[in-house]
Amino acid sequence: MTRDPADGAVLELHEAAFSHPGGGGVSGIELRVAAGESVALIGPNGAGKSTLLQGILGLVPMTAGSLRIDGVANARDRGRAVGYLPQQAALDPEFPITLDQVVMQGRYRRLGWLRWPGRADRRAVADALSAVGLAHRGGARFGDLSGGQRQRGLLARALASEPRVLLLDEPFNGLDQPNRDALLETVRELKGRGVALLISTHDLELAREVCDTVVLLNGVQLSAGPVDQVLTLGNVQECFSDQGVEFDEHTLVVPGHEGH
């Protein structure tokens, strides 16, 4: 876990490209996320936002460029440093598992094959549940939770792994206002703790609210930089040019998509 303190980039991609074996991918990614920084990843459906996030996790092959996590290039063992909240995970609501047990899965990478959770792990689970505002729901069956609570539960699982980088794929989709507010609050708290965040979203308002930097993406990286400089009407129009979307500088409405 040694890294150059003057540098400070937890996640660094240089001229990176990722593509699915069957086709479809992203290229030209130049990205630096520092500890405590949060970066919004914005682009239309099919722009490759999820592909980029999965590529960083090592689930989609990297076809060009370099990727450094904590200064380590192309590390094979990324699971420990990188937490991930997938986009609307299709999980069986009938699966007999409690929220506590789901969040504990975040500790498995640390535990390895043979060790079973101990006191420190249970502590970490309780802390992660508190961080997402579900401290009192740990014993509930996961399938009995509301959609927003499940989403927050999966975020808690990612937190329980104590990641250096957290990748959130469309975390605000389909959330009602209370859950959305709770998630925003958690994101702020994580930034305060020094977690580097990469958040894919359709929600420009949200990007302005909690993100420092924004990356516009549509198959290739179009522009990147501080939110105020990059998130201009012209840039956003260019990024979404091939989509029938309506937007102004603050909001974006994607037809047939639960956006804000």
Binding site: P86, P96, Q101, Y108, W113, S146
Partner: protein, 313 residues
């Protein structure tokens, strides 16, 4: 003969005691592995493996008699587990892949057996087992194979459960999905091998699938499923042997041991299923309250109190 004779006295006979020991070992391992089969929805793959083990049994028997059964079956099972895992992974429509492997291997087995002297007798022994004629020498290999299956699953249990619940999340956390699938399929195959001598390569499916399915009906608690499935399997094994003994010795109706045991497993499952449906019917408020909890515990509490129903069990 009274019930106590069948339930306890019968096991003073060495062949009955051996059958019980073997079945109890199988109950523990099949119950344990069976919970994962249920959670992963691998019932059809398990079916494919039971059939794929058959030519291994046949070839092992042709080469080495009863002593060749376990080694032959173990080799066939591990090859089949590898093949089925790779086929499923390569994106070949899984059901057709399994069906093809299943019929191909089965026909190979039948052809091998047909070359022997006692076609009908051998086929029956390989398909339906020789529960009551297991020799003392056969017990140790069976237990050894069962233990390997148990250890394979126990070592990977956390990650297997994670993968069963959330395959994408498990991969994202760095778990080796291919390794986990191979380990689980190999364990299933080894359970089939261990059980093939006792209750045959076809009836083993009852041992592998019924306890896990029963546990799912009886509990929603993840780590309670394993002891429930094992306990259920052990109880059914004992009752199955005892009832087979009572029918054969007491009532003079000669029934095959393996099939009687498998029948008791299924009958017990049906009883549990009926009980489950009955309980659900008698307590509709519970089901309603549980559905409501999806919308939040606070609302559930207000709904149950406003309808005058107590808290959900």
């Amino acid at each position: 003969m009274d019930a106590a004779d069948a339930l306890f006295g019968a096991f003073a006979l060495p062949f009955m005691a051996r059958a019980l020991v073997v079945l109890l070992v199988l109950a523990v391992v099949a119950g344990f592995v069976g919970v994962l089969v249920n959670l992963r929805g691998l019932e059809f793959i398990s079916d494919g493996l039971t059939h794929a083990v058959f030519p291994g049994l046949a070839i092992g028997f042709a080469l080495g008699g009863f002593g060749g059964l376990i080694p032959g079956a173990a080799v066939a099972a591990l090859i089949a587990a590898l093949l089925l895992t790779m086929l499923a992974r390569a994106g070949v429509a899984s059901d057709s892949a399994i069906a093809i492997v299943l019929t191909a291997t089965f026909s190979v087995g039948v052809i091998v057996v047909s070359r022997g002297n006692d076609y009908a007798g051998e086929l029956e022994a390989l398909l339906f087992g020789r529960l009551l004629t297991i020799t003392p020498e056969e017990v140790v290999p069976i237990v050894a194979v069962a233990l390997v299956a148990l250890v394979t699953v126990a070592v990977t249990l956390k990650q297997q459960l994670f993968r069963a619940f959330d395959p994408v999340g498990s991969r994202a956390a760095g778990a080796p999905d291919l390794g986990l699938d191979l380990a689980l399929n190999a364990a299933i195959a080894l359970v089939v091998v261990a059980a093939s001598t006792a209750i045959g390569s076809l009836l083993v499916l009852a041992l592998l699938i019924v306890p896990g399915a029963t546990a799912r009906l009886l509990s929603n608690r993840l780590f309670a499923l394993f002891p429930i499935a094992i306990g259920f399997a052990a109880l059914c094994a004992w009752l199955g042997l005892a009832s087979g003994f009572a029918l054969s010795v007491g009532a003079g109706i000669d029934v095959p041991g393996g099939a009687t045991v498998a029948g008791v497993f299924v009958a017990a499952y049906v009883l549990v299923l009926l009980g489950f449906l009955l309980v659900r019917r008698l307590r509709p408020a519970d089901a309603a309250a549980r559905r409501v909890t999806a919308a939040g515990a606070e609302r559930a509490a207000s709904v149950t109190s406003s309808t005058g129903v107590g808290t959900a069990g």
